[in-house]
């Protein structure tokens, strides 16, 4: 059984069909990169997997639990950590509390244990010195790295990352991507929406291309940048368009 099974999902906003009878599976391993033109429903797909949007038809199972049952949502969200394009640090607490609050409240971790774990992850994202900082004392890239660390605190089985570098300048983008590369090498399972093709080439094992609410192609990285690109005019055009 795959970790995430998206089965014939249709999602509409009013008259707009954003996901059209969409099906795909994700396994417990590796980095899957999801690409496609703007407005094709990439964010919507991630939000549906995490139960932030209700689906109109079909089903999504995360470790066998359906998103259609509200009671499963907490568990599903613990299984899949999510980081958004616009960073959301909790402004009323410092960095350390941002990280420890959820494990303490939800996993009943002791404060000391949570802080140890938080320091471990802060170190991993290169921000060990910032534990007492507030969100307004952090750069965009630092905030995004903290959001990643905060998601990891819940020990998710997978990270859902939605264009988490697209609001950052190239230097900060690189900082964040380096963190992701390291995590990938350590075996953290990720599903990323990103247009950073250098990142995809470096760590992705699988590439999904979607357009118009449908999955256009689902192949390994090597095939994608090799044969698929050569044969598929649309994908070639898209890759050229994003400067690849």
């Amino acid at each position: 059984m795959a970790m995430i099974e998206v089965k014939n999902v249709t999602k509409q906003f009013g008259d707009l069909t954003v996901l059209d009878n969409f099906s795909v599976d994700f396994d417990h391993s590796g980095v899957t990169v999801l690409i496609g033109p703007s407005g094709t429903g990439k964010s919507t797909l991630l939000r549906c997997i995490n139960g932030l949007e209700k689906i109109d038809e079909g089903d999504i199972l995360v470790d066998g639990l359906s998103v259609n049952n509200k009671k499963n949502l907490k568990q599903i969200r613990k299984t899949c950590g999510m980081v958004f394009q616009q960073t959301v640090i909790f402004p009323h607490m410092n960095v350390l509390d941002n990280l420890t609050m959820s494990p303490i409240k939800l996993l009943r971790m002791s404060k000391a244990e949570a802080e140890d774990k938080a320091r471990y992850y802060l170190d991993k994202v290169g921000l060990a010195s910032k534990e007492k900082s507030r969100h307004n004392e952090l750069s965009g890239g630092e905030q995004q790295r903290i959001a990643i660390a905060r998601a990891l605190m819940m020990s998710p089985e997978a990270l859902l990352l939605d264009e988490i570098t697209s609001a950052l300048d190239p230097e900060m983008t690189r900082e964040v991507l380096n963190i992701l590369v390291n995590l990938a090498k350590e075996g953290v399972c990720m599903l990323c929406v990103t247009h950073e093709m250098s990142f995809a080439k470096e760590v992705a094992s699988r590439i999904l291309f979607m357009e118009g609410g449908k999955l256009v192609c689902d192949v390994s990285k090597d095939d994608f940048f090799g044969s698929v690109r050569e044969e598929n005019e649309r994908i070639n055009k898209f890759l050229s368009f994003i400067g690849e």
Binding site: K74, Q75, V88, K105, L106, N136
Partner: protein
């Protein structure tokens, strides 16, 4: 002790008037504080119900809040004090009528403040809470409420100051608050300027520090967020 009620008979200030003013301060403060306390509790309930997703439930508090926000407080007081006994046969003491009126009026305005403060927190904060595995309640308590509170507090203090001034209308149902004692004493002493000067000073004494506190907290919020 010189009694304030010797109206018509002239008598200058006496030492006993200090006590009269002190008692009046007690009445004003107790009416105001009790009303603000009750009004805040009911207002929080109104504000939370106003945040409901269900349209009908969300509408219900408005039935009480809107009339209270859109009519003069003094009319509400007369309605409760003079109207209720006739309508429902409920005879209220002046003190009780004053507190009921001021509490409900405060609740109506406080409910709006609570509702607006919660709405002012971006949806992305809710979603960040959900995405970490918090339920609605946990997200509200741990993420939203604490941010909303910082927006709410300075506005609440400003409302409280306003309600303190408005409490002076209870003098119209002869409750001996600061304003009422001012009326009686100004007639008795025939020194309106001195008496109303004192009354003015007493309200100001309580309000001014509160106003400064509200300003301070409001500035601090802009600074940290």
């Amino acid at each position: 002790m010189q009694d304030v009620h010797t109206i018509g008979k002239y008598a200058d200030f006496a030492v006993g008037d200090i006590r009269t003013f002190a008692e009046a301060c007690g009445v004003t403060l107790s009416v105001t504080l009790l009303s603000l306390l009750i009004g805040t509790v009911i207002g929080i309930i109104f504000g939370l119900i106003r945040c409901s997703k269900n349209k009908l439930i969300r509408f219900l508090p408005l039935i009480i809040m809107e009339p209270l926000r859109n009519s003069p407080l003094v009319v509400q007081l007369f309605l409760v004090y003079y109207g209720l006994p006739v309508m429902a046969g409920i005879l209220l003491k002046d003190y009780t009528a004053a507190i009921i009126t001021l509490s409900l009026n405060t609740a109506a305005f406080f409910g709006v403040l609570v509702h607006n403060s919660i709405l002012a927190i971006p949806v992305s904060q809710w979603e960040a809470g959900y995405a970490l595995g918090h339920g609605k309640f946990s997200t509200f308590i741990n993420v939203i409420a604490r941010q909303a509170l910082r927006l709410l507090i300075p506005q609440a203090i400003t409302l409280y100051i306003g309600q303190l001034q408005c409490s002076s209308i209870v003098s119209l149902i002869s409750l001996r608050d600061i304003t009422r004692v001012g009326q009686l004493l100004s007639v008795r002493t025939m020194r309106p300027f001195a008496v109303w000067g004192i009354v003015f000073g007493l309200y100001y004494l309580v309000s001014f520090p509160l106003a400064r506190l509200a300003d301070y907290l409001a500035k601090r919020i802009d600074y940290t967020y």
